[in-house]
Each structure stands twice: as C-alpha cells, then as structure tokens.
Assembly symmetry: C2
Homo-oligomer: 70 residues x 2
DNA sequence: TTTATATGTAAAGTATCCTTTACATCTTGA
DNA sequence: TCAAGATGTAAAGGATACTTTACATATAAA
C-alpha cells in the first residue's frame, strides 16, 4: 500500500529516528513503512494520522483507490 | 480498539457469513473484529470502509479519540 | 423433535507486523 | 582522515492478525 509518510516527515524536517520516537516505534519500523516493505497495524496507522493531524486516508492510499471500471 | 462493524453490518441486514464473503475473509475474522479480540490489518480496514462507503475513522475509534487533558 | 440459520468460543497453524542488533553507504564537518 | 548523522539492507525472534476446524448455544420453522 502506497503512503506519504516520507513526504509528511519531510514537511516537519524530522529524521527517521525523530519520527520513530514520536510514534514510539523503532527506526526500522519507520523505514519498513516508508519503503513499503509492509503496512502498519491499524492502531499505528491511527497514531501516524494523529501525529500529522490528518486522516488515515490522507497518509495511506488503498490499492483500489481511484480505480475506474475497465 | 472500538468499532462499529456489527452496527454497520446490521444496517445492511447481513449475517456475519455474508459480511465475511463480501470482505473475502473468514467468519472467524469477522467475529474476532466485531467482538474486539483484535484489530484488522490496515488493508482490511480499508476494504471494510470501502464496503460501507465511509471513512476508516467512521468505523474504527482510536483509543485516544476525543480525549481531553486531565 | 428435527433441521437450518446465526452467533459465539477454543485451539492450532500460517502470515504479517514490529523489535533488536549488526553492518553498509553517503554526506557533512572538524 | 576521522567522527557523526541520516538512510538503507538483512536476519532472527516475539507479538499480532487471519485461517481452518470443531464444538456449543439460541432461535425459528417444519
């Protein structure tokens, strides 16, 4: 699932380490999510959205989003 | 994490089995999520929100939602 | 009573998420 | 050159999500 985590982190000028501390997760988890190795759990997705004061749908993009028939 | 899955399912008049088939998961997963035994993965949370044509935040309620200081 | 539908618990196994540790590369600056 | 910060890969282990199967209870209908 695509996401804008790296972009959002950039707007704050945060390193991966700083973001990890703000989310109370490891730096490896930040890397894994940013590089698309895996998706966060739902509770973590909520913490991420809350941290950046936006909706989950504004951070993560469902594979089926925006699809049209055909 | 609290959720309104059972309530939303009720508005459609669907059994757990029918919901499971619509989400392409097992009935046990539906039960586990409805009864709060565990949270869905983020991709499944997206599928649930899409099925009911609403936002993830309209189905699942973050533990920290609506909290005020004190 | 028997049958069918709906809901729930339990347990065992697989898949995914997340952590810790270690190591590699690149950039910046003393 | 050397040190430090930022980003990335890899691997092993623990935690959580999800599946399958089996069994229990309740309700409704023949």
């Amino acid at each position: 699932m695509n996401n804008r985590l790296k972009e959002l982190r950039g707007t704050r000028g945060w390193s991966q380490q700083t973001l990890a501390e703000n989310l109370d997760i490891s730096r490896q988890s930040v890397i894994a999510i940013e590089t698309g190795r895996y998706d966060p759990s739902l509770p973590l997705a909520f913490r991420i959205a809350e941290l950046f004061a936006c909706r989950i749908e504004d951070v993560f993009v469902s594979p089926s989003a925006g699809q049209v028939a055909g």
